[in-house]
């Protein structure tokens, strides 16, 4: 069953991502992208990596997508002339994909006995140790990069 669920979810990820790059309306595209992240999170759960699944939802679908939506709505990049309630045709595919993802997740949680835990499951502590010990320099380098994202955005965005 796991394989079937995986292929269904993989199809959902691909379709949602495809929609998100073909969709002309920026807000709709982001909804599709978020849907694809959710499906990806369930795939991670399927792979016995609940921690990554949670990160995927909290950081990608949660923080980053909301930030995107916020910026787009603030800049009014969407079409202000079309501020009507989205029609059925607009939200049906996203809803369908979302329902499939949710169904897969519920199926996994309910029907599947909690996936046989490996002998030593990866705990948050192990994850943190590897991240900050083995790849500690990488974390520092990424933080420098974020600093410069800030510097660059400030400089280029400053009024003359």
């Amino acid at each position: 069953m796991e394989q079937v669920v995986f292929y269904i979810l993989a199809a959902v990820v691909l379709i949602a991502t495809l929609f998100s790059i073909t969709e002309k309306h920026a807000v709709h595209a982001i909804i599709y992208l978020a849907t694809s992240f959710f499906a990806l999170a369930v795939i991670f759960y399927l792979l016995n990596a609940p921690l990554v699944a949670v990160f995927e939802v909290i950081i990608y679908a949660g923080a980053i997508m909301v930030l995107f939506l916020f910026v787009i709505m603030m800049l009014e990049l969407g079409h202000p002339e079309k501020i009507l309630l989205p029609g059925v045709r607009d939200w049906a595919p996203a809803l369908l994909l979302g329902v499939v993802t949710l169904a897969a997740f519920i199926l996994l949680v309910l029907h599947h006995p909690p996936p046989a835990l490996p002998a030593n499951p990866v705990k948050i502590r192990d994850f943190a140790t590897v991240l900050f010990r083995k790849y500690g320099v990488a974390v520092e380098i990424v933080s420098m990069q974020l600093l410069f994202a800030l510097v660059g955005a400030l400089y280029l965005g400053r009024r003359k």
């Binding site: 790849y135 990488a138 380098i141 990424v142 990069q145 410069f148 994202a149 660059g152």
Partner: protein, 470 residues
């Protein structure tokens, strides 16, 4: 973390601390002392690198202070130093203010140093992305010029795609071989004569992403537009530092593969062939000097790839030698252009008519760099091209080497056209060009001296390069 680890990461720490210092300095004395602080810091990092013997790999950190890393840290620090010297007065003339500029140049150097010292693929990727990131900002930093903003956007969009390609390539490599350690991963990509298919796919993505960074055909489309639009000192840095970093990455990866490099032979051949032919032919038709140099740099990258794909030690040595020489040549060429740019932007090749008489120093440096790029002795360009084609012949790449030599002969035309305009024709109604300032003079004289010195006495550098290739 033990003290050896701190020593190994010292160049990173010096530059990172320097960046923070420059940014903080800006809060107290906005827009002043940035250049001089940056120059001192880069000198410090270069001197520290010179004085410290190579250290063994620090496995805990994923960085290695190898002889290879030492050599490239030195090269990157000096390149950034020349760039800062060139850009100080240029920025004043073009109205680019703020401590962000020197800080971002330092950050680009930081990315390059990370890349040169990286011992695992993650750090390699982060270094590469760090420096590209800095160049996104630097390209768009001239807010008075719409061209600069446009160039920044073009570079950002295509750069993002290449970053995705590299990240995906590394992920596939990791999936194939199960380790991020560069040496171990590269060895097991093609162990025992058969290739791991997923890793093969990973290399495909990685190669395409790196081809973008060093602008090889067919990933070269950004180059002319970015070179034309970005501030000229930035282009000097972009065309030297980032290209050298791209080849440093390839040199970290490819020699570690041993004989497995043969699996990349065909794609590298195509990249090299198309870059040499297309770059040189397109450069013939350019009227804008910066665009011409962009296509010329595409062609030069083709020559470098030609030496790289031989997979022999002489080939790798020729790549390093030519990277050093190319850095000096392009810094002089773009340095001279940027120093001539004042109120007027001199861009069309025709604008340089007679400049050799009115501005002897800059005109002379520009002419010298054109001679060097064309590969005419006794400049260093000749030594570099000679090493490359000799390595190609030794590595049994006769057809490609012949094509390379023919395209190099074609390229002489467009390089010497600039020299002819500079000296052979009198100035008629020329645009007012700018006089070189002290810092520009220092930078231009330094790079010209390197071109001439390596042209007549390359021995010590060749020995050094031989010693850093394990």
């Amino acid at each position: 973390m033990i003290s050896a680890d701190i020593w190994a990461s010292m160049p990173l720490i010096i530059i990172a601390a320097g960046i923070i210092f420059v940014l903080l300095l800006g809060a107290f004395v906005p827009g002043r002392h940035g250049t001089i602080t940056g120059v001192i810091l880069l000198l410090a990092s270069a001197l520290w690198t010179l004085r410290t013997p190579p250290l063994p790999v620090a496995p805990l950190l994923g960085i290695a202070f190898t002889p290879f890393a030492r050599f490239f840290i030195l090269l990157f620090s000096l390149t950034a130093l020349i760039t800062l010297l060139l850009s100080h007065d240029y920025n004043k003339r073009r109205g680019i203010h703020g401590e962000e500029y020197p800080a971002t140049v330092l950050f680009a150097t930081f990315g390059m140093v990370v890349l040169a010292t990286s011992a695992n693929l993650l750090n390699l990727f982060l270094g590469l992305e760090g420096l590209t990131f800095a160049f996104y900002i630097l390209t768009a930093i001239d807010r008075n010029s719409p061209d600069s903003t446009e160039a920044g956007l073009k570079y950002l969009l295509q750069g993002a795609v290449s970053a995705a390609l590299i990240a995906f390539g590394i992920a596939l490599l990791y999936a194939g071989v199960g380790t991020l350690e560069i040496n171990a991963a590269m060895k097991s990509v093609a162990s025992g004569g058969k290739t791991v298919p997923v890793a093969y796919a990973g290399w495909g993505f990685l190669l395409m992403g790196l081809a973008f960074k060093v602008s090889l055909v067919p990933a070269h489309l950004w180059t002319p537009d970015v070179y034309q639009g970005a501030p000229t000192p930035v282009v000097a840095f972009l065309s030297t530092g980032s290209k050298a970093a791209g080849f440093a990455a390839l040199l970290l990866l490819l020699p570690a593969m041993g004989s497995g490099i043969s699996m990349l032979h065909t794609p590298l051949c195509c990249l090299s062939l198309f870059s040499m032919v297309l770059g040189n032919l397109a450069a013939l038709r350019q009227q804008n000097l910066k665009r011409m140099l962009a296509y010329s740099s595409i062609a030069q990258m083709g020559y470098l790839t030609l030496a790289l794909l031989t997979g022999i030690r002489e080939g790798f040595a020729a790549v390093i030698l030519y990277v050093v020489i190319y850095t000096a040549m392009n810094l002089s060429a773009f340095g001279a252009i940027s120093s001539l740019t004042g109120e007027n932007r001199l861009e069309d090749v025709e604008d340089f008519r007679g400049v050799g008489f009115s501005r002897p120093l800059q005109g002379g440096v520009l002419a010298l760099s054109m001679f060097a790029l064309a590969g005419i002795p006794p400049t260093a360009g000749f030594i570099g091209k000679f090493a490359i084609f000799a390595a190609a012949l030794k590595g049994n790449e006769l057809p490609l080497a012949v094509i390379g030599i023919i395209t190099a002969l074609i390229s002489v035309y467009y390089y010497l056209r600039v020299v002819a305009l500079l000296y052979m024709q009198p100035a008629d109604g020329e645009k007012l060009s700018n006089q070189a300032t002290v810092s520009e003079m220092i930078a231009l004289c330094a790079t010209s001296a390197v071109i001439l010195l390596l042209g007549v006495y390359p021995g010590p550098l060749l020995e050094l390069i031989d010693s850093i290739l394990r």
